[in-house]
């Protein structure tokens, strides 16, 4: 099982000091967080994509390329890549370039985005969110698999005799996850292609995750990719830890109370009950995370959100130490002991290359 972190890259004032990092400081903080993720033994670092303040990651492959050059082992991913408003040709080119430079340590998670005006800013209509995700990904899928592509669709200029370069490393396209909170069409899309399905699993009740993963597993089998429990599932998670759980609650509360998305709404206690948020000791995080398996089955990837709501870099790096030293080693052992042999691991470049060779 893979463990890692994902970030949306928000620039949020620290509510305890009022200090807001500059965009440049936040970008550098994200790179420091990614390097730390490798240092503490995590497997995956995933970066969001946004085109509006208060978010800074507008250019994910530039940032991930920098990280790739300074890491050895870390798998670089996205959370998410906007399949709706990006040109699928540019996604094919940019991520193949990243994949080549990172020696295959790249996969992607497709998403539709969370900000309405991004659609018109990029010449699209939000009411076409699902059709854009379907058509654009169908083209991207072909561009990585067919040398020369003739294509015509509804949303983009037609292509004649087009070849996307560089070609994917070893002829193996990056593995793709499809992320969605509550759109059954996206679970269907992931199932159709035999791609991975990632349930955001933060800020929302677990019932959403359970329904979406259940649908994805059932349709994965319907399309002949394996049994339902062999589908490739990833989950998010949101945690804040201190050795002593009361310290964690006390320290995190002002960040929680003022956070974007849920701040000034439910109490920390309510939100911890209604969503997978866990604020407490490393052991509490271990117990809660192991419990995810009870409602989604054996799964392949667990990503944690650690760095939002204005938490200072120093605190985030301390969280990574706790995650890497006290939480993930236990989770690796426990999840591995529970997983039946016929349930696959998440595909990597090496495993996909071996599959192509065989």
């Amino acid at each position: 099982m893979q463990f890692g972190i994902f970030t949306v890259g928000d620039v949020t004032p620290d509510p305890t000091t009022g200090r807001e990092p500059t965009d440049a400081e936040r970008v550098k903080a994200i790179t420091a967080i990614a390097l730390k993720a490798e240092e503490v033994g995590l497997d995956v670092f995933a970066l969001g994509e946004h085109h509006n303040p208060p978010f800074v990651p507008s250019s994910p492959t530039t940032l991930l390329g920098w990280i790739a050059a300074r890491t050895e082992r870390l798998l670089l991913s996205t959370s998410t890549t906007l399949i709706t408003t990006n040109d699928p040709v540019k996604i094919a080119e940019d991520y193949a370039m990243l994949q080549v430079l990172a020696d295959g340590r790249v996969d992607l998670m497709m998403g539709r985005g969370n900000t309405g005006p991004v659609y018109p800013w990029f010449g699209q209509d939000i009411r076409n969110g699902i059709p854009l995700a379907v058509e654009n990904y169908a083209l991207l899928h072909r561009l990585w698999r067919e040398e020369v592509v003739d294509w015509q669709g509804k949303f983009r200029t037609p292509l004649q005799s087009f070849t996307s370069t560089p070609r994917p490393l070893d002829g193996v396209p990056p593995f793709v996850w499809h992320g969605s909170i509550r759109s059954p069409e996206i679970a269907e899309q992931a199932a159709y292609y035999g791609d991975g399905f990632f349930a955001n699993h933060i800020f929302w009740p677990k019932e959403h995750t359970q329904r979406m993963v259940g649908l994805y597993r059932q349709r994965f089998a319907h399309y002949g990719h394996g049994d339902p429990d062999q589908a490739i599932v990833g989950l998010g998670g949101q945690v804040f830890m201190r050795k002593n759980s009361q310290d964690a609650v006390r320290e995190f509360r002002p960040y929680f109370d003022n956070a974007p998305v849920y701040g000034h709404g439910p109490s920390l206690e309510d939100f911890s009950r209604e969503t997978p948020l866990t604020v407490g000791s490393p052991q509490q995080v271990i117990d809660r995370t192991l419990g995810f398996r009870d409602y989604v089955g054996d799964y392949q990837r667990q990503l944690f959100l650690l760095d939002h709501a204005g938490l200072p870099l120093k605190t985030v790096l301390e969280q990574l130490d706790l995650l890497g030293e006290e939480v993930v080693p236990v989770l690796r052992k426990e999840f591995a002991a529970l997983k039946p042999a016929h349930v696959p691991d998440a595909p990597t470049h090496q495993s996909l290359k071996a599959r192509v060779a065989a």
């Binding site: 059709p131 069409e185 269907e188 009740p205 709404g265 439910p266």
Partner: protein
Amino acid sequence: MTTRTLVVVSAGLSVPSSTRLLADRLAAATVAAAGRAAGDAMPVEVTHVELRELAHDITDHLLTGFAPAALRRALDAVAAADGLIAVTPIFNASYSGLFKSFTDVLDRTALDGTPVLLAATGGTARHSLALDHALRPLFAYLRAAVVPTGVFAATEDFAGGALRARIDRAAAELADAMARREPAAPADPFALTTDFAALLAGD
């Protein structure tokens, strides 16, 4: 005849509340009217949704995008209802903010074609047209099937007999509309209603 479900949403803020008092009388009159249906009495199961108890949940839903458990149960009950009685106090010439917030977090298709009886309370009869200029357009937008008679009760109406007649007329209309409609089957937002071939074809 199959049992029908009637949900009674009441947005009164005080306890006891004249809004709830009116809601209870409307519910009882609807159950009674359903029981009098010629030849084939219709059993009605009544669920009360008191918005005051859900006020924090409704605000949280507006802020987070999802319903806490107690509100989820109320929203599911409304979506599955065969009939709805909605009663609000009139504040500043319209429905109360709490009442509107509840309608703002209803699932998009929750009231499609649902028979609805609209009612309101106010200090004086001068507020009575709010039923028709504020509540009716809102429920038309929600595609509800609102019965012709709305019931407005000013404080003074709790003395005379005219309110009783309006309650009975509105309740009879609602019971009749519920009897004529097949029992409701709410939409499941997570159900897949298409397959990938259709999605790819842009259908």
